[in-house]
Structure formats: structure tokens, C-alpha cells
Amino acid sequence: MAVSTKDKPVSVQPIQKEQILKVNNLEIFYGEKRAVNGISMDIDKKGITALIGPSGCGKSTFLRSINRMNDLIPGARAEGEILYEDVNLLSKDVNVVALRKEIGMVFQKPNPFPKSIYNNITHALKFSGIRKKSKLDEIVEESLRKAALWDEVKDRLHKSALSLSGGQQQRLCIARTIAMKPAVMLLDEPSSALDPISNAKVEELILELKKDYSIIIVTHNMQQASRISDKTAFFLSGDLIEYDITENVFTNPSEKKTEEYISGRFG
């Protein structure tokens, strides 16, 4: 991730630490209701961390708090710490706009802008000050290639993004996030709305991306978590029940609840 460009004034600092995020006693509230109950966990750099658990367990809420997307929900507030390079991301002083450039997010439902494929990627780049056509072209191609979409769309870059299939749209959304060169990518059930073939392609892509990015993925699909993630965290009713190397969680869980969930007894 030390690759940077002259046009991008700010580069991501390579850090030697093993962890990229440290979560300390994080609590998240919606109004009076507590959705996340004081969890603490460290997230590895350049790996895939999967968050699993039944609906409403707080995993998506946690994910969305990392790049402060929860700010959009009236009444939502977070306490505790999420440390990223010694900055508490929950602090009022954090510039959320800069934060979201470094910690990008891909959503459950593919949500391309109603613009051309090309403009979907350049939209945020232009806003962050990159205007040169050649530079933009270069980044568009690079990110589409990384998202394994280039060959499928290179002849119709200026067609509407809405003309793509669901799976292609989701890969475009990933490409658009890659183009910002984030340090961390948050994926909120990125393939749950897709058909099995598109799902497989997106999974392949995520595995490819972990070479360059720290990825946190929320998923309902336990096979998916076991296939792609390095570490898995199991959430239940706002609590972090178990957090370990994926293999351990799935083959030899230390908590009874984890075992019950994984073997499909609830959720």
C-alpha cells in the first residue's frame, strides 16, 4: 500500500504493526437501545476478517461505525475507541470525509451511481482533486482490472452503469472503492444480493484483494466466511462471543453458542 502518486497529496503510511485497527470497549446505541455491548478486538492488517452472527446481532452496526456511516442515522451514537494509527476514529475531531477515503465501504446491495461506468469511478477521484484525463483513465483501468471487470466493460466504459448485471455492478462498486486507494475496505454482505455465479466471482475478487488491503467483511453465509477469511468474529445480541483464526472457529469453537450457531441450530 506504499504505492502512491503525485496527484494524490496524501499517502497511506506503511505501518509495521501487525494490527490496523484496535477496538476498545466499543458500545453503540440507537437512541436508548444498545446495539453493541462493549466489544474489544484487534483487526489484522492485510487479511480478511469475517464478522458473522444472526440478523440484528450488531455486526453491521459495528462495521458501519468504523468509517462513521452510522453518523447518518439520527440518534445513533458510539462510545469507546476504535484506534487507527493512534487516532480514535469515533472522536468528534475526525474529519469523516477524509476518514471515508481511507476506510472505504462496499454495501450489501450494488449501488452504482446512475452515471456511466467510467464516471462511477472518476466521481470521487475528481472530487479529491484529480482532474487530468490521462491520470483518470489510468486509474479507471487499473481499478477495473483489480476488480476483474476490465475485460467485460472496456468497450463500453461510457455506457450507463445500470446496464451492468448485478454481479458486475457490485464489482464496479468495489472498483470504485479501490480507486480511492483505501487502507481498509469494509464489505457489508457484498454478495448476498447476487446469484451464485456472480457470488463466486466476487469472492474470488475479495481473496485477490487481501494482498493489498485490510478487509473486514460482514456475511450471513458461513461457507463464505470459512472459505475466504483469515479470522472470524462471532457476534450474538451485541456481544462478541468468539474471535479467533477462522479454522478454529469453524472446526473447534471454544464457545457453545458459536458451535450451536455454526451447526445451524439457530440464526
Binding site: M69, V97, L99, G104, F107, K109, N111, H123, S160, S163
Partner: protein
């Protein structure tokens, strides 16, 4: 009477009501168009009106109507858009927002004659302008603003939330997201609403009686200097619009051909409003198609 019979009678009554309303509309349009269209001629559309003699046209009134409309929309659209953006994106639930909502509601329910009186006080007397196009346009702005605010708010709210999240999630500021993502997506509905509102403004008369006046000075259409007193573009001159003209010839007119002039004017007015409606529909669906085109 059995319940079956009363059910049949009731159904009959509802169908009758529908038929009455449809025939009403057909009757009204038949009257306006059949009586009006035969009065419309090139002569009628291009001659100035006469105060005393028969055979006057409505050239200036047509121009005034469109000119007042344009000035009104130039003022209303940005303000209404701003208000709509505020209500949809910035207003936090609470007392202030509730109060603004009440204001919009109150503003929308003011009788247009009261808005005309306010215009008379504010833009005619207090400013010392007298009857002017600008005063009329400002009064119509008051009348039109709540509509534009609602139209823009609804249009922005109906843009899917996930597109907004996508933009914010990429590290784009709220305002830039509004400007480059929300507004373009809301554009077709806003345009449709604006054109429909324009139709309403075009036919409005009561708010203009005391603000833009009942007369038009002699205009010289070759004079394009907006500061010249005979220029049609001068916004500080009185201007009788088409809708006001229909009222004034009927109630205060001295010309012998009141009926002919009124019929013709009514037809022109109604046809214009119809065109606005068709435009709104056409442009709305066209832009919508273009933006969501899958090919």
C-alpha cells in the same frame, strides 16, 4: 330494501358521479375551445389590445404572461430548491423543522388575494416602485414557493438512500453529494413539478391585480434595453397578464367585443396551461427514460 338492491343503487350512483365529472370536463373544454379557437388569428395574437374599440388583440398580454412567469421562476426555482434541499437533507427533527413545515403549509394556504395585498404593501407602496413586473413576480414567488419546496423535497427524498450512502462512503462531502448525485437523480421529478407549478402561475390573476397592475404601457418590441421605459423587457413597468386581462375586460371593459376577446384569451390561456401539462409529462418521462436507460 335488500342489501343487494342497495348495493346496486349505490354502484349506480358512483358511476353517475364519475360520468358527471367527465362530462363536466368535456363540456368546459368544448366551450373554451369551440368558442375560443375561432377568435384566435394571427391578427389577434399580434395586435396590441384596445381600451375602447373593437378588434384589439392580446399581443402584450401574452408577452407579459410569459415574461412575468420567467421572472417568477428565476426567483422561485433556486429558492424552492434550496428550501427543498434544506428540508430533505439538513433539517433535523425538532421544533425548528416543525416550524418551517408549518410556515410552508401556512404560505401555501394563504388566499392569493391576500398575497396580492401583501405585494401591494411591500413591493408597490413601501418600495415606491408602483405597479411593476418585478412586484408581480415577487408576489407570485410567495404564492409559488411552497409548491416548489414540496416538489424539491419530495423529489430529493425519493432518490434511493443507497446511492447517497455510496457517495458519502467514498469520502465525498454532503454538499458535493447533494450537488452531483442527489440533484441529478431528482432532476426529472423537480422539472415536472416546476413545469406544473409554472402552469399554475401562468393562470394566476388575483395576486397580480394589485402588484403588476391592469395596464400595459405602449411597448416597442425593437427596444431591447431593459432600462428603457418602452422596452418590453423593463421589469419596472406595469404589465397586465393574459389571466388578468380576461378578468378586466369582463368586469371593467368598455370595448364592444368583450366576449370575443375574452373567449380568445381564455382559449389561449387554457391551451398554454395544457401545453405546460403535456410538457411536464413528456419531459419528465423522457429524462427519466434517458437516466435509467439500460442500453
Amino acid at each position: 330494501m335488500s342489501s343487494k338492491t342497495s348495493d346496486r343503487i349505490a354502484t349506480g350512483i358512483f358511476v353517475t358521479i364519475a360520468v358527471i365529472i367527465i362530462s363536466l370536463l368535456i363540456g368546459l373544454f368544448y366551450f373554451i375551445l369551440v368558442n375560443g379557437v375561432k377568435q384566435i388569428s394571427i391578427d389577434f395574437l399580434t395586435k396590441p389590445s384596445s381600451n375602447l374599440l373593437a378588434g384589439g388583440g392580446i399581443r402584450d398580454q401574452i408577452f407579459n404572461s410569459f415574461y412575468v412567469l420567467i421572472i417568477t421562476m428565476i426567483i422561485t426555482v433556486p429558492l424552492g430548491l434550496g428550501g427543498g434541499i434544506y428540508m430533505a437533507e439538513y433539517a433535523k427533527p425538532g421544533k425548528v423543522t416543525d416550524f418551517i413545515r408549518v410556515c410552508v403549509e401556512v404560505l401555501a394556504s394563504f388566499p392569493s388575494i391576500v398575497i396580492g395585498m401583501f405585494g401591494l404593501l411591500m413591493f408597490v407602496t413601501l418600495t415606491g416602485w408602483g405597479y411593476t413586473i418585478l412586484g408581480g413576480a415577487l408576489a407570485l414567488t410567495v404564492f409559488n414557493l411552497p409548491v416548489m419546496v414540496r416538489v424539491s423535497e419530495d423529489a430529493i427524498r425519493s432518490v434511493p438512500r443507497d446511492i447517497k450512502e455510496a457517495s458519502l462512503g467514498l469520502g465525498i462531502t454532503h454538499w458535493h453529494t447533494i450537488k452531483t448525485i442527489l440533484l441529478p437523480s431528482a432532476f426529472p421529478s423537480i422539472l415536472t413539478g416546476a413545469i406544473l407549478a409554472a402552469g399554475r402561475v401562468f393562470g394566476e390573476a388575483a395576486a397580480l391585480l394589485f402588484t403588476a397592475g391592469l395596464s400595459t404601457p405602449r411597448l416597442d418590441y425593437s427596444d431591447w434595453n431593459p432600462f428603457s421605459s418602452t422596452s418590453p423587457l423593463n421589469i419596472f413597468r406595469p404589465a397586465e397578464t393574459l389571466a388578468v386581462h380576461i378578468w378586466s375586460v369582463n368586469t371593467q371593459g368598455l370595448i364592444p367585443d368583450v366576449k370575443e376577446v375574452a373567449n380568445g384569451s381564455a382559449a389561449v390561456l387554457v391551451i398554454s396551461v395544457l401545453i405546460f401539462n403535456l410538457l411536464a409529462r413528456g419531459i419528465g418521462s423522457l429524462v427519466h427514460k434517458k437516466m435509467t436507460a439500460s442500453k
